[in-house]
């Protein structure tokens, strides 16, 4: 799951193609804008809730820098321990 207002699926699939070939399996990213992510959370979307409740590996920045902080502030997400 990628949270971004700017990235396109084309950008992402181009970047992930080598990884997909190396892994020998399909990599299927989902892009949400912060707004769309908040909407899905409000709707109780199982995929979004599942991903957000699991441990995350931050490639750039940290949880504190992420748009998820705004969602927490808005009460859509509980802070993990």
């Amino acid at each position: 799951m990628v949270v971004s207002n700017e990235l396109t699926y084309g950008d992402l699939f181009e970047a992930l193609d080598e990884a997909s070939n190396r892994l020998g399996r399909k990599v299927s990213p989902t892009i949400y804008s912060p707004k769309e992510l908040a909407k899905r959370l409000k709707q109780g979307n199982a995929f979004v809730r599942g991903v957000l409740s699991q441990p995350k590996l931050w490639l750039i920045g940290s949880e504190r820098d992420s748009p998820l902080e705004n969602l927490r502030a808005a009460g859509h997400l509980r802070r993990s321990a």
Partner: protein, 141 residues
């Protein structure tokens, strides 16, 4: 221009000489749907369906141009690097939309947002542009 297709599952495609009329009809069908998919007054779900079907018609046109036919919808997207020389930024977006279309058709689980539909339309436009660059089939039937 001749490209040899390497397809791991031979049963999913069969060789069949291109047909200029069929090629023109598929291309026309794809382009008409693409124009309607771009209309923001249409519902997002409708725009997704139109763009997906446009992409399928145009990708199938490319496969038929190359002298093959497939009964598996996914294959027409999978072989786009061979039929039209497009990269993962195009064909993988279409393949992803194929999965979403199947989930919607068979499980009633539709997920598409503005981002996905915009990118599906862009990928479809790239296929249409690549198709336009192919030399005419001429009188081949």
């Amino acid at each position: 221009m001749t490209r040899r297709l390497r397809i791991s599952e031979p049963r999913v495609t069969s060789a069949e000489a291109p047909d200029a009329k069929e090629f023109a009809a598929l291309k026309h069908s794809g382009l008409v749907r693409l124009v309607d998919a771009e209309k923001r007054t249409n519902a997002l779900e409708s725009r997704f369906d139109l763009a997906y079907n446009a992409a399928h018609a145009l990708s199938l046109a490319a496969l038929r141009y190359a002298g093959y036919r497939s009964e598996k919808r996914y294959v027409v997207f999978q072989v786009l690097p061979q039929t039209l020389g497009v990269g993962p930024e195009v064909w993988r977006v279409l393949a992803r939309c194929h999965d979403i279309r199947n989930r919607s058709e068979y499980e009633g689980d539709f997920y598409a947002d503005e981002r996905l539909v915009t990118d599906l339309i862009a990928a479809c436009q790239a296929v249409a542009a690549a198709l336009d660059k192919l030399p005419p089939l001429g009188g081949r039937r």
